[in-house]
């Protein structure tokens, strides 16, 4: 789960990029004065067009961050953009603040990177209960609950019987972390964990059998 800190950082950077984009759009010539002469001489197109393009890029980055759409990509492009700004403008009394913005963009990108290598983890249910009793996984990974016992199991989020501890809704009773039916011996049930935390669960048919999935 993305933390409150992530959203504060995301919205703050979104407002900054939107605001700067609009300011550049209103007066591109004034902002072009920040470029070092050597950098201005390298431009293949007129300065005003470059600054308008910069303004549009800043606004797009700001909108993406504001609505939380591909935040890792927006943060990556924003970070590259800031590196270019620091390079072509030099570190001055004004652009020194871009170092902080760059660090914030990198932090945002790292925190929101998708996890394409998410794997499956296995919890086995036997007649003695869930094993391993505590399983540590990464956010976005799927846990397969395999029933290798002689009876039916029904894994579901704590607390019994409402199953509301896992922070989603839309399950048959409470959260979606709920098999919603008995899983027969030799069958299995899978659930993908998208929220960081320690999530306790139990066998709904025999609530004494419990376990914990720690999502990091």
């Amino acid at each position: 789960m993305k933390s409150a800190a992530f959203h504060f950082l995301r919205v703050g950077l979104a407002i900054t990029f939107l605001w700067i984009g609009i300011l550049i759009f209103k007066n591109p010539e004034a902002w072009s004065g920040y470029l070092q002469p050597w950098a201005a001489g390298l431009l293949p197109i007129p300065m005003a067009q470059v600054m308008i393009g910069t303004a549009i890029l800043d606004i797009i980055i700001g909108v993406f961050l504001l609505i939380d759409f591909l935040p890792w990509l927006a943060a990556f492009v924003g970070a590259v953009h800031l590196v270019i700004v620091l390079t072509v403008s030099g570190i001055t009394d004004i652009t020194v603040r871009d170092i902080g913005l760059l660090a914030a963009m990198l932090a945002l990108m790292i925190d929101s990177l998708p996890s394409p290598f998410a794997t499956e983890q296995v919890v086995t249910f036997t007649d003695t209960g869930y094993s391993p009793n505590t399983l540590i996984i990464k956010n976005g990974e799927t846990v397969v609950f395999k029933n290798q016992s002689s009876r039916t199991m029904w894994p579901a989020s704590a607390m019994h019987p409402t199953h509301r501890e896992y922070p989603t809704t839309g399950g048959c009773l409470g959260s979606t972390f709920d098999a919603c039916k008995g899983v027969q011996p030799s069958d299995s049930w899978s659930f993908k964990f998208d929220f960081i935390g320690a999530w306790k669960y139990h066998d709904h048919l025999n609530p004494g059998n419990t376990g914990t999935i720690i999502v990091q």
């Binding site: 789960m1 919205v11 979104a14 605001w19 504001l66 609505i67 939380d68 922070p167």
Partner: protein, 62 residues
Amino acid sequence: MTALALLFTLSAVGISETVYLIRKRLAAEKPICPIGENCALVLTSRWSKIFIILANGNYTFS
């Protein structure tokens, strides 16, 4: 300029918050509460069910 900047900032925060809450509702997830708790009340209130939110008929927020 300061008043305009303040209006712009508050508007942006409002738009962001609205998009965030709509997406949380469509995904049937509870929103984060930076201050206090029970933020989900804003999604469970009967006043939240207007326009496109109401059209999301296959979803029940319990």
